[in-house]
């Protein structure tokens, strides 16, 4: 599992992905960790297949008893089907996830972990001195969907928005936006169901100061590529399968 530190300040952001041991027939995912002095938050911790490499990678940054928070942007198995395993490994943890998915996510088993339902209008996760904002991203693509914004690190974790499917050795940042567009087009047109939801989300996130836009698949966007992505997405017609 490749680990890339993407922010270092009073706290850290680390991106995990490009797992070389991943079975070929499951989608590659990016996991993110926010590390404060005594706590650790896993964002979209991944599928059950990924649990062991993910846990092993996190142990380079935090002991198990300091993994206190998990966040699931939505209900998909590549996002959170490892929940039942984290549930048995962690003794004092919370899962922050959309309120409307609670009854569904509990199918993965969530007995010792406390489910903290995120209401439709969003909320915050307080991690020691760091306050992360939970930005509504409903219908992008899931009907109950949130992104995580860190105003201090200026990172917006965007789940499936900004995603692209690429090979295992792909760099972690977009280095040629024009070339990258074609890798994202079908994904966004097919997976994102609503032009209206897309417009509302773009209006919302254009007000945020973002240095890094961090999706759950593919490469992250930084600097001017963040605005380029928002402009490109704004102009894209989505929901093409009907």
């Amino acid at each position: 599992m490749k680990m890339t530190k993407i922010y270092e300040g009073s706290h850290q952001w680390i991106m995990f992905g490009r797992d070389e041991g991943k079975p070929n027939n499951i989608i590659d995912t990016n996991q993110y960790v926010v590390r404060t002095p005594n706590r650790c938050l896993l964002l979209d911790p991944g599928g059950a297949e990924l649990f062991a490499p993910m846990m092993a990678a996190v142990l380079h940054h935090a002991p198990v008893d300091q993994i206190t928070d998990l966040f699931a942007s939505h209900q998909d198995p590549d996002v959170i089907s490892s929940l039942g395993l984290w549930d048995q490994a962690l003794t004092n943890a919370k899962l922050h996830a959309p309120a409307i998915w609670e009854g569904f996510l509990r199918h993965y088993s969530c007995e010792s972990i406390e489910y903290v339902p995120i209401p439709d209008n969003g909320g915050t996760i307080k991690l020691e001195s760091v306050e992360l904002q939970l930005i509504p991203a409903h219908y992008l693509h899931s009907s109950g969907n949130f992104h995580v914004y860190d105003p201090q690190a200026k990172i917006l974790m965007t789940g499936d928005v900004g995603a692209a499917i690429e090979g295992p050795d792909t760099p972690v940042f977009v280095d040629n936006f024009a070339a990258h567009v074609e890798k994202m087009r079908f994904w966004h047109q097919r997976w994102m169901p609503s032009n209206q939801a897309k417009r509302v989300w773009i209006e919302r996130v254009r007000n945020l100061d973002i240095d890094i836009l961090a999706p759950q698949h593919g490469r992250m966007f930084k600097g001017d590529d963040v605005k380029r992505f928002l402009d490109w997405f704004d102009a894209l017609q989505v929901g093409i399968a009907v």
Binding site: A52, A56, L59
Partner: protein
């Protein structure tokens, strides 16, 4: 999922299937008992010895139905325990793999506690499963006992039927049906016991 886990799931699921057939047969015995009682009543003195037998048959059928109902509830508990054991074992294996993959990571040792806990939970489940299987086998033995008793009653019924004059054929048919039902119960329950017995001492 290992082959042993698969077999365990199949063994536990097959109990419910086998026992639902037993339940059908036990209800048939109960019906046969009611039928026999009516025939014996019509036969009067000619089937005097048969009358108390019909009560025995009915009682036996009722007890079998009750036992099977309880066993089915127990089998469901056993199924949940099997699921639990599967999850605990999967977690233990994944935790061990994570520890191995972590190698010399700064916090690799912090994984030891979850590994130990997962191992204990898994072993608890395995012990509980064996205990529950032993109890279930005991309950299945009780059903077998009822099936054997039903066969003895069927034999007695044949003797009593032979003295029932024109009712001989009807009462013999009742005896045959009880005997056949007892056979079916015996065979089905025996299959459950064979499927489960390997887990009692595994």
């Amino acid at each position: 999922m290992t082959n042993q886990t698969k077999s365990q799931f199949i063994a536990v699921a097959s109990i419910t299937s086998e026992l639902s057939a037993v339940m059908v047969v036990a209800k048939e015995i109960s019906l046969a008992a009611a039928n026999a009682k009516a025939i014996a009543f019509r036969a009067g003195d000619k089937a005097k010895g048969f009358q108390p037998i019909t009560d025995f048959i009915n009682e036996l059928a009722k007890e079998t139905i009750e036992l099977v109902t309880n066993i089915n509830i127990y089998a469901l508990v056993l199924y949940r325990l099997t699921v639990d054991e599967f999850q605990k074992t999967a977690a233990y294996n994944k935790f061990e793999l994570a520890t191995k993959m972590a190698g010399d990571a700064t916090y690799a040792k912090s994984m030891q506690e979850p590994v130990n806990q997962a191992k204990l939970s898994m072993q608890d489940c395995q012990r509980q499963f064996k205990r529950d299987v032993s109890q279930l086998l005991g309950q299945l033995e009780a059903v077998m006992h009822h099936a054997r008793a039903a066969r003895v009653i069927a034999a007695n019924s044949r003797i009593e039927a032979s003295q029932a004059g024109e009712y001989l054929q009807s009462l013999q048919a009742v005896a045959e049906s009880v005997d056949k039902a007892a056979h079916t119960i015996h065979d089905n329950v025996q299959r459950c016991r064979i499927a489960l017995s390997i887990y009692r001492n595994s």
